[in-house]
């Protein structure tokens, strides 16, 4: 009997080991490739010399690393209004992108979830189809559509609808077109996943209690898809704040986005401490909505339990 018990214990400890390996590997991955680089960025952002890079970021004194914290870069960011304006404008563009994606994506996801079951996989496939082409190529293609002598302007002019080309390129319009276009699938997919699980009986119950279909949408469907709205919004908003490629290719010089400032500090000015400080503040800005998102997720889990 005792032998049997001990062999059971052996199985159990093996399972535990297996579990810790399965859980441990991704954590190790994150530690090496996310947490440590973040700490390096944090350290560099607090260095005093403009020429600080990874190779000389640690100050050695008598064989011991010396920890000096220098807030020069942060001070500069806080005093120079350019940074403040750029952060604000990035958040603005990310917010507008999120709202536009939601307004376009919600009806889309709704009707997708309501369409006959057998065509839903096809519709889902069509949403993901653009990912088969390079992101860069797709953004570049927009350029050929939007420029003064591009496809859209040429067509409109040859039809006689406009006399002069519409200024659709290198401004906030082209930036938002590119952003909404690129991030729309990230809004639609979580919304679809949520809406397709919505129990039709709730809508029937609402109708039974005297609610017209339009009102039932606002009173039942929208509140019950809150989790999908939040998930989709986060998936769009967070990467949109730091977006670099779309502002660079479509936004022109007039649109301020923090991703481009970051690039300039790193590669043009070679000012690593400043670039790191810009990045750290951006991370802090993103952490706020993330924290809110996590809280709503935790609340939901709690509600289900």
């Amino acid at each position: 009997m005792a032998k049997k018990l001990s062999s059971f214990a052996g199985v159990k400890s093996n399972l535990l080991n297996g579990r810790s390996v399965v859980i441990g590997v991704p954590y190790l991955w994150f530690l090496l490739l996310a947490a440590i680089p973040l700490l390096i960025i944090l350290k560099i952002s607090l260095s005093e010399m403009e020429s600080t890079t990874i190779s000389n970021m640690i100050d050695w004194r008598d064989g011991w690393p010396k920890l000096t914290l220098n807030f020069v870069s942060y001070q500069f960011i806080l005093t120079d209004s350019l940074y403040y304006k750029t952060y604000l404008s990035s958040i603005q563009y990310a917010l507008i992108t999120t709202v536009l994606c939601l307004v376009i994506g919600y009806p889309f996801a709704y009707f997708m979830a309501r369409s006959p079951k057998h065509i839903q996989p096809t519709l889902l496939m069509l949403i993901m189809l653009p990912f088969w082409t390079s992101f860069l190529l797709r953004i570049y293609a927009w350029k050929t559509l939007l420029v003064s002598n591009g496809v859209i302007n040429n067509t409109l002019m040859s039809l006689g609808l406009i006399d002069a080309p519409l200024p659709m390129m290198n401004n906030s319009f082209s930036l938002l077109v590119g952003m909404v276009y690129s991030y729309l699938p990230f809004m639609i997919l979580p919304l679809y996943a949520n809406l397709s699980k919505l129990d039709i009986r709730y809508l029937e119950a609402a109708a039974d209690l005297g609610t017209s279909p339009f009102k039932a949408f606002w009173l039942i469907t929208v509140p019950l898809s809150k989790a999908g709205i939040i998930a989709g919004s986060m998936l769009v908003f967070i990467p949109a704040i730091g977006e670099y490629v779309i502002p660079e290719l479509l936004g022109g010089s007039s649109t301020l986005m923090i991703g481009r400032v970051l690039w300039d500090e790193f590669f043009n000015n070679n000012d690593w401490p400043m670039a790191s400080a810009v990045a750290v503040i951006m991370i802090l800005l993103i952490l706020l909505p993330m924290a809110l998102y996590n809280k709503s997720q935790a609340d939901q889990l709690e509600a289900k339990a």
Binding site: R201, E204, A206, D208
Partner: protein
């Protein structure tokens, strides 16, 4: 006929619901409901009883307005509501597994329908309070549905469907989600509340006991049609077909031929025995009929009965103990197996019959129902 069945579709004092030739055909040829007509009087609790796929839910959903009938008409208090959308019908439904809005509190769930009607706040609060009192859930007004037990959710659903004082209340498997013990107490509670409010009620169930205890009349449905409509005892004791006899409770059916057909009695010859039925039937001698005999109406004995009729002999091949009663399976010499239910009216379990025993089953001449179709 000695006991003539009551006229079950008798013209009532006040007809609330009238259904005329209602038919629902899906995908061109699947007849879910087939030419059903019915009247329900005010204050009645009417049960649609049948197995899955018999069309009872489709019929209920047509009453609620979720399905548009292919043919036929529905009248509520004289008004044709056949094509009215669900949100314009003075009918409320208690859904199977309730469909309580998960994002709203108990109070908001009950108030939902009243708010849509634009009821003034003070009156609304008073009505909701009254409804919650009725189902004894005032203490739980602020809770969300998922924080309640199954029985409590069921009562919220009832309060929500009664809040608007509908002319007709529809119950879709009202107790299906509850466990057996809770179901029995809730059945009576539900009937009491419905009667207190005085609302007319159509309920759908697959559970014959539920239909019998709750309803004043039952319609047994099969393949989209009504097999029999009547009061619970009439449907149970006077089934009009093999299907109904078999669906409602347990039954032994002997196949036989009418031998003597007199106004006050008939004899029916079957391979197992000769049945003497103490009332006349609407048939003729030489006609093939079924004799339906409920297990609880059969008595068992080791001694041979002294009469000529209404008994048969067999071997006990199975005994199933239920606590309150025991069901014996008796294999007759013809090969037919009949079930007989004996009350366990003493605590002496070593009662005289056991596996392998020869026993005589007998019954009196008013115990059976003759099935002519």
């Amino acid at each position: 006929m000695a006991t003539a069945p009551k006229d079950l579709n008798k013209p009532a004092q006040e007809v609330l619901l009238r259904i005329e030739g209602l038919t629902k055909i899906y995908d061109g040829n699947v007849k879910a409901v087939d030419d059903v007509s019915l009247t329900v009087t005010k204050g009645e609790i009417f049960a649609l009883l049948g197995g899955s796929g018999c069309g009872k839910s489709t019929l209920l959903r047509m009453l609620a307005g979720f399905e548009i009938p292919t043919k036929g008409k529905i009248f509520l208090a004289g008004d044709d509501i056949t094509n009215l959308p669900p949100y314009q019908r003075p009918i409320n439904m208690m859904f199977q597994s309730y469909a309580l809005f998960p994002h709203l509190s108990v109070w908001e769930n009950v108030a939902f329908g009243l708010k849509r009607d634009g009821m003034p706040t003070a009156e609304l609060a008073e009505r909701v309070e009254k409804m919650l009192n009725l189902v004894q859930l005032s203490k739980y007004a602020k809770r969300k549905p998922h924080q309640l037990s199954g029985g409590q959710q069921q009562r919220v659903a009832l309060a929500r469907s009664l809040a608007k004082r509908p002319k007709l209340l529809l119950l879709d498997e009202p107790l299906g989600a509850l466990d057996k013990k809770l179901r029995e107490t809730t059945q009576l509670e539900l009937v009491n509340i419905i009667e207190e409010v005085g609302v007319t009620c159509v309920l759908v169930t697959h559970d014959q006991e539920e239909a019998m205890t709750m309803a004043s009349r039952i319609a047994v449905m099969s393949e989209g049609s009504f097999m029999q409509v009547g009061e619970p005892d009439a449907v149970y004791e006077m089934p009009n077909s093999r299907h109904v006899a078999d669906f409602i409770g347990n039954v032994n059916i002997f196949e036989g031929i009418v031998d003597i057909d007199e106004p006050d009695h008939v004899t029916i010859r079957s391979p197992e025995c000769i049945h003497y039925v103490g009332h006349g039937i609407s048939g003729h001698s030489g006609m093939a009929v079924g004799v339906a005999l409920r297990p609880e109406k059969i008595m068992l004995s080791k001694d041979k009965p002294e009469t000529e009729y209404n008994w048969c002999e067999g071997e006990v091949i199975e005994m199933v103990y239920f606590g309150a009663h025991t069901t014996y399976h008796l294999k007759l010499d013809s090969g037919m197996v009949i079930k007989a239910q004996e009350l366990n009216n003493t605590r002496d379990l070593s009662c005289n019959l056991t596996w392998g025993d020869r026993a005589y089953a007998y019954w009196n001449d008013l115990a059976m129902a003759v099935l002519t179709n």
